[in-house]
């Protein structure tokens, strides 16, 4: 993966249901890695397989667009839809993936409950604090029942006493997780394996 003069050269394998933490300085390619996995950037060479299916392989001419990858993505900058309430944000994914209005709403309510955000389900994102937004963002990523979960600094603004609950939710999702974090505690507590990126390469 090359962006300008930046090259990301990474090989990693997450076992089904496993959790890999990716750490490294700013600009080392952590977010780019997630974007490639999500299908927001194509790779120039190499192959991305998600849950046993090839999602991106330029040599074979294979490209699966992001909406067809079974992923959940919690963004570093959260990216809640401002015109929708918290529960509507979380219901968006299930709706797009074919659930009926009522079913999507129920699933969203359950997902919000799991991160203890039921009280603010009807609030618009502008009314939520940074930590509350992150919890809704995580619930939104989990509500699509992803096979691969991509988390970019998912707890950075979250109060430390809420973090164990969120970590538990990530574990309980049963997805293969790639967790980008600056926080060694997150990595230690959640990850089976820690990968350190430096200037687009795995440092070891």
């Amino acid at each position: 993966m090359t962006l300008g003069d930046f090259t990301l050269d990474v090989s990693l394998e997450v076992p089904a249901g496993g959790i890999i933490a990716v750490m490294g300085p700013n600009g080392s390619g952590k977010t780019t890695l997630l974007r490639c996995l999500a299908g927001l950037e194509p790779v120039e060479a190499g192959r991305i397989s998600l849950a046993g299916r090839v999602a991106d392989d330029p040599a074979e001419g294979i490209w699966v667009p992001p909406e067809q990858r079974r992923i959940g993505y919690a963004y570093q900058d959260v990216r809640l839809f401002g015109h929708l309430s918290a529960v509507e944000n979380v219901a968006f994914g299930p709706r797009c993936r074919g659930a009926g209005r009522a079913a999507a709403r129920r699933r969203a309510a359950t997902a919000l409950d799991a991160v203890e955000m039921t009280a603010l389900a009807r609030a618009k994102p502008a009314r939520l604090s940074g930590g509350q937004s992150q919890r809704v963002g995580l619930a939104r990523a989990l509500a699509v029942k992803p096979e691969v979960l991509l988390l970019d600094e998912p707890f950075s603004a979250t109060d430390t006493d809420v973090r164990p609950l969120l970590r538990e939710q990530v574990r309980a999702a049963g997805a293969s997780v790639v967790l980008v974090t600056h926080d060694p505690a997150d990595a230690e507590d959640l990850a089976d394996e820690v990968l350190v990126l430096e200037a687009g390469r795995i440092a070891s």
Binding site: N26, Y73, F81, G82, F92, T158, D159
Partner: protein, 291 residues
């Protein structure tokens, strides 16, 4: 990767509610403002008077009690209907044709964007009479495209109601395109990405995430385009002529009334157009008046 991580929220921060930017006391601006204006009052006042006095003059001469009967006359009713229909259709066409154009402008590479934008902006700065003349020679019966329209469909645009719509769209659409493009370009593309990773196809992401974001810009652009279409004079009279009941819009009827020595009619029509302008301005107040 240069995105800054959101600020850490410590335990203590929740106890002390401190809205961002409230840390320092607001500076005392009052004296500063008074000093800044100073001697500018006189030229500023003259400038303002130039803009305001004509409107006052119009309102002061308006035949308020005769207004309903004046506007009810067949001639003015015709003009009202023609204007209402053609300006609405022109605004609609500006949105339908202008939105794809604004999307292309907001997404294409800078070199091409500059070129396309020149083409879009030209009708805004071009004298409307020139626009009308150009339309006449392009879409007239012997024009570049007009010839083809005439032989293939038997359509003739000049001096027809459809011609009024074409002239109005020509001058009005740039207002929509420019406003919509600005909205599209300032919209958050990250939200569209978020929608796509949640399972939304490109078109669904656009409809359910992009459009709600840019809806205020689109509405403002449509209102501007409509107001411009309603006021169109030069291109219309050049391209479509001044035929009562067919191409005579409110501005054309106003001009004709003055020429024919019926000032009361001209004032009545002007009051109608002024009222519409005020309504448009008020509907756009969030954009312009409160900033």
């Amino acid at each position: 990767m240069s995105a800054a991580a959101p600020k850490m929220r410590g335990h203590t921060s929740s106890a002390t509610p401190a809205p961002p930017g409230a840390a320092s006391a607001p500076p005392r601006r009052r004296e500063v403002r008074g000093r800044a204006v100073g001697g500018l009052w006189l030229p500023a006042g003259i400038g303002l008077a130039l803009l305001v006095v004509p409107v006052i003059g119009l309102l002061q001469r308006a035949p308020w009690s005769d207004l309903p009967s004046l506007l009810g006359s067949a001639r003015l009713r015709d003009a009202l209907v023609i204007s209402a229909v053609t300006s609405a259709v022109a605004a609609g066409a500006s949105v339908l044709l202008g939105l794809p154009l604004a999307l292309v402008l907001s997404r294409c590479e800078p070199a091409l964007r500059r070129l396309v934008r020149v083409a879009v902006l030209l009708p805004m700065v071009l004298p409307p009479v020139v626009g009308g003349t150009a339309l006449l020679f392009a879409l007239g019966r012997r024009g570049l495209v007009g010839q083809w329209l005439d032989t293939t469909f038997g359509w003739s645009l000049p001096f027809s109601t459809a011609g009024v719509v074409v002239a109005a769209t020509f001058v009005a659409m740039p207002f929509f395109v420019i406003t919509a493009e600005a909205g599209l370009r300032s919209a958050d593309a990250g939200l569209v990405e978020a929608a796509r990773t949640l399972g939304a196809r490109r078109s669904v992401a656009f409809r359910r995430v992009m459009l709600p974001q840019v809806a205020p810009s689109l509405a403002a652009g449509a209102a501007l385009a409509w107001a411009r279409a309603l006021g169109e004079f030069g291109a219309t009279i050049t391209f479509a002529g001044n035929l009562r009941g067919r191409t005579q819009t409110l501005p054309l009827a106003t001009f004709e009334a003055l020429e024919a020595g019926r000032p009361a009619e001209a004032i009545a029509l002007s009051v109608v157009l002024l009222a519409v302008s005020v309504v448009v301005l008020v509907s756009l107040r969030d954009r312009w008046l409160t900033r």
